[in-house]
């Protein structure tokens, strides 16, 4: 059984179906990206998992504990960062972390140690004694990450953890998440697809409340690969172009330059089946191949392709 399991989770707000039969299983130690356009149902799913909202139907388990509304037993295992974390403006950052530790009933000496450690981790040591009311949005986001880590959770549920951060801050947070992955399962929703692509092992894409795809990122890129190969020869001449054009599976050939180096872009019917035929023809033609690369789409292109297809279907 996975560390996070959702079975047929649905949530209705009046007549609106915000989450439609979400079934998902995530293994321990995974850094999982949860994607979807606005209103896809990501926040609804996250809130149900934290126990802040109740599913209309279906069940979920985290660390073997059944997810229920306001379940304190479940919350001991998880750390949660909402999209826009709210704090008491009259407290200092240090006080809020101490308060969080006390709520989790962590022994006081350990709290003191954890508070200092977490403030350093998120880069707030210098402002730890300042009132939260004077923090910028980015600082609040960092404090939000720190408070989610206070109880050293087995599962970390993050809603847009990098949304308010500057590029340097974003990189730091992503590096921190990669470090945490060693002993924590991380489930994060984000609109910044390059962040998800950079650190996540697996992703799920949600659209209109329904799970469209769940896969490892590399599998997804392969699955949605465009049927285009990039070839670099030493040197390229007219005969090479002609030979390539005559290969039966080749639909089109374009020539372009990468810096000063000329490359050929070859479009085929099927990227998996035609790869072999292309390579065999190159070997048979005794061409000096320097580079052969299948052009894989980035996550953003995959996302647009999947969500775009859904829109067309509907």
């Amino acid at each position: 059984m996975g560390i996070i399991v959702c079975q047929g989770l649905s949530k209705k707000y009046g007549k609106i179906l915000a989450l439609d039969d979400l079934t998902l299983e995530i293994e321990k130690g995974t850094l999982f990206g949860f994607l979807g356009p606005n209103g896809a149902g990501k926040i609804t799913a996250l809130r149900i998992m934290v126990g802040l909202s109740q599913a209309t139907s279906g069940k979920a388990w985290i660390c073997g504990e059944e997810v229920k509304l306001n379940s304190s037993r479940l919350q001991k295992h998880i750390g949660y960062l909402p999209e826009e974390p709210s704090f008491y403006p009259w407290m200092t950052g240090k006080e809020f972390l101490k308060f969080t530790g006390e709520l989790f009933q962590i022994p006081l000496p350990e709290i003191k140690h954890r508070v200092d450690e977490l403030l350093e981790l998120v880069g707030l040591t210098d402002v730890g004694k300042r009132r939260i009311g004077s923090y910028s949005r980015g600082m609040k986001q960092r404090l939000g990450i720190a408070q989610a880590l206070m109880n050293q959770p087995e599962v970390l549920l993050l809603d847009e953890p990098c949304s308010a951060l500057d590029p340097v801050g974003r990189l730091e947070v992503l590096e921190t998440l990669l470090k945490l992955k060693e002993h924590t399962t991380i489930f994060m929703s984000s609109h910044i697809l390059s962040d998800i692509e950079r650190i996540c092992d697996e992703v799920a894409i949600l659209n209109k409340g329904r799970l469209i795809v769940k896969s490892h990122i590399e599998e997804l890129r392969q699955r949605y690969a465009r049927p285009i190969f990039e070839l670099e020869f030493d040197p390229i001449d007219g005969s090479i172009r002609n030979i390539i054009r005559k290969i039966p599976c080749v639909k089109q050939v374009f020539e372009l330059k990468r810096g000063d180096i000329p490359v050929l872009r070859v479009q085929v019917e099927n990227p998996v089946l035609d790869r072999r035929a292309l390579l065999e023809a190159i070997v048979a033609g005794n061409m000096h191949l320097r580079r052969f690369e299948m052009l894989l789409p980035n996550l953003e292109e995959v996302f647009v392709s999947i969500v775009g297809n859904q829109k067309e279907k509907s």
Binding site: L52, L69, S72, F87, Y88, L103, F104, Q147
Partner: protein, 250 residues
């Protein structure tokens, strides 16, 4: 354990956001202001410069006590509702409740800590106001029976704690603090109006304030049923607030 953590947070919040200071200051002003107003009312009227053809009776400590009770049952009630209507509703509205209730803090401890902290604030304000009233009345208007005065204040504190529990229940029910305040006022004023129905007068919490007034006038009064019902209603309101929060999507 979490109750004490939340209680410490509530007390710190009441101090740092000046709620404690405001509560104490208002009750102190009422405590001290009542005997001062009664003593100096004729002088104030003279100083207004208008020749009002009015003969004022000589007012004493008993009149000051009646005015004190009247202030507590009206202004005290309003003050309690105003200061506590956002206790839960505002935390839900600003989403700070999410940060607390997603960390193993039970809704029961959450609401009980608020009841204790605001209740302590009310009692502290009432105590300081009562001390101020007692000394000023004794000096300016004559002696006040300390035992009776203590009983009057205990009854008032009990009634105001009832008002607090009702307000906390409505504050848990709705996300808007204004709606919570409105519902609380309507309920409390409605209950006070019921006390005018003869056979109901002994059974509603506001009868406690009537009992306090009868003490001043020399009567012994007897509102044991009202005291018991008030206690039951405080417990029921807190239980209702807890259950509402437990079943509500924060």
């Amino acid at each position: 354990m979490q109750y004490y953590v939340l209680l410490r947070k509530e007390i710190k919040e009441n101090i740092r956001t000046y709620k404690f200071l405001i509560m104490v200051a208002i009750l102190l002003v009422f405590g001290i202001g009542t005997p001062l107003m009664i003593k100096f009312l004729p002088e104030i009227l003279k100083l207004s410069g208008e020749q009002i053809p009015l003969t004022l009776p000589v007012l004493g400590a008993t009149d000051a006590l009646q005015s004190y009770i009247s202030n507590l049952s009206q202004v005290g009630l309003l003050l309690v509702v105003l200061i506590s209507m956002g206790a839960v509703a505002q935390e839900r509205e600003r989403r700070t409740a999410v940060m607390v209730l997603s960390k193993s803090a039970g809704p029961g401890a959450f609401i009980l800590a608020k009841m204790t902290a605001i209740g302590t604030m009310i009692i502290a304000g009432l105590l300081l106001g009562a001390i101020g009233f007692y000394f000023y009345t004794t000096i300016l208007l004559g002696p006040v029976d300390l035992l009776k005065f203590t009983i009057i204040n205990l009854l008032s504190a009990y009634y105001l704690l009832f008002c607090l529990s009702i307000t906390l229940m409505f504050s848990s029910l709705v996300k808007s603090q204004l709606a919570a305040g409105g519902l609380s006022l309507v309920t409390l004023i409605g209950l006070a109006a019921i006390s005018n129905i003869p056979f109901m007068s002994e059974f509603v919490p506001s009868a406690l304030m009537g009992w306090a007034t009868s003490f001043i006038n020399g009567g012994n009064g007897d509102s044991v049923p009202a005291m018991m019902i008030c206690g039951v209603l405080i417990i029921l309101s807190l239980l209702a607030g807890w259950q509402i929060l437990r079943r509500t999507e924060i």
